[in-house]
Symmetry: C2
Subunit: 331 residues, 2 copies
Amino acid sequence: MTVRAVTIADVAAAARVSRATVSRVMNGVPTVNGEIADRVRTVVGELGYSPSDTARSLSLGQSKTVGVLVPDLSNPTFQQILQGFNSAAAADGYRILVTDSHEEVDDEAALVLDARNRTDAVLLCSPRMSEEQLAELLPTVKPAIVITREAHFQTEASVSADFIFGIRTLAEHLIALGHTRIAYLDGPAIRNSQTTLDTLFREVEMAHPGVTIRRVPCGSSLSDGYYAWDTLKDTTVTGVLAFNDLLALGLLGRLNEDRVPVPGRVSIAGFDDIHFARFASPPLTTMKLPKPSIGEAAWVALRAELKGEAHVAPAIFRPELMSRQTTGPRQ
Amino acid sequence: MTVRAVTIADVAAAARVSRATVSRVMNGVPTVNGEIADRVRTVVGELGYSPSDTARSLSLGQSKTVGVLVPDLSNPTFQQILQGFNSAAAADGYRILVTDSHEEVDDEAALVLDARNRTDAVLLCSPRMSEEQLAELLPTVKPAIVITREAHFQTEASVSADFIFGIRTLAEHLIALGHTRIAYLDGPAIRNSQTTLDTLFREVEMAHPGVTIRRVPCGSSLSDGYYAWDTLKDTTVTGVLAFNDLLALGLLGRLNEDRVPVPGRVSIAGFDDIHFARFASPPLTTMKLPKPSIGEAAWVALRAELKGEAHVAPAIFRPELMSRQTTGPRQ
DNA sequence: CTGTTAGCGCATTCAC
DNA sequence: GTGAATGCGCTAACAG
């Protein structure tokens, strides 16, 4: 914008028609005289006119745009979810506006509000805020839906990945390979997923006497994984589960650097199956998430809300084990 | 938006004041009676009012937002440039709206136009469109600036990376290691950078008799690099330069998979120095680009244009050689 | 089939 | 210090 160079009025004047007619031509309304339409189009071309989306949005009462909040756009996982979401939305004529919170929990609410003020709805992708904050925010920004890594937020999360199932699968995988001392690299401290995970680990330990799974605070980035070795190396841990692939890959890079054999000395498993996982050396064992499908499901849910339809049933996606080379028998 | 739940009028009515007063309170205009202001704020809280950015934009004549076009958001390089740009812009109270062209050259112009119609200016990050298209588009969307990988588009590119210098450096690096048969994995076919690169390679060949550098059409993604080996493996090439790190990393992944020693059988060099480069195995030799600085410089240039100041001098960034382990003596 | 009128939600002159 | 009126650029009835 910035004091629009050429407006609909300019075009109307130059084409000697009313603004309404210009509007009709621009929107492809068929009931316009061919000659007039041509004349308008010509002028549009000459003046380089292009309608202000802001004005259209205000007038139409909708922007045909939905906002998306992600905690970290540099994480390939979110990019892929976003792609699935984006193409699905695009197919319905919607565009997206993405905002990255950079893992700053305290900024999330404001960012969502902000995004919502210029769009018709919002998608909260793995919000890091507490469940309470979320519950408070949601009603003020709806239509809104949230994608979560845990399936137990049934009230809010329309789309979720069965993280617990995935971690259990990975744990069993390591245990089957003979590992008994396992570490879990924790993701961003969020919500009350804490207890859920603890419960899982206790269950697994119960089922497999002799096995211990220890949680280690970590983070969500490559470097978080890289530095995790500092606290891990002096332990007897032989198997490591990571909150996500970034963590696992960062750790793997560190181990390669320190010439620690993988999976000889320690087995590593990630979560998400980002592209790089396959290209790592050795290729990373991880749980594959159908990221584009998750994005699509999110759009389907959001579109339903947009249309005011009945709530669609929450979609829960099960990850799939990609057993590659970073995990092997305990030695 | 979507038929705004609560508007400024609602707040005004509930607080028994005029809309103008509500507006003043919302914008922190000091000349408002304390009690009234408090009353308004209370109502705002109760009603959960939050001003429509769309309406504000239209009224103010500016959105305090700038659009950014990138060819591939999943490429970490662009993310980092974006981050630099974003934080610089944020410091000046501007927000950004990103659009990803997914390397679809033909969509770029429309996307830029689209973005520009809801923002005050646009940044074209490594546009893939032809120089002619760019020249035609630019005037219609200004204020606009472009970031380029080549320094020779002096007329348009406000910020650029000295790609030619970087590739030359890498070529010399390989040659110094004894490589004489070198392949260059080409990026997206764009503009007329073709001849520039050819010129460079001829120069290098002249300066080093016996050396040949062959261009191989490739692409810009991990998988493009992965499949490049299919055409490379039957050649006598011992050194490979890649358009970017993604290509190099994809190729490296393939070579690890096929158990082809790197750099024993073939040396590889990338370009950009994305995070993953360091974590690859072996760590990737590449040219480091000051990506955040590039982003910041872009904002400085764009801000100047926004203010209608004189054109700032084009900024050209020189990449720096990061000699790591994917390049070694010819064997 | 085209022009006139009104209004989307907000900020901002201008009087009061 | 506050309210009433006007306009940002566009679309959508409504007439004609």
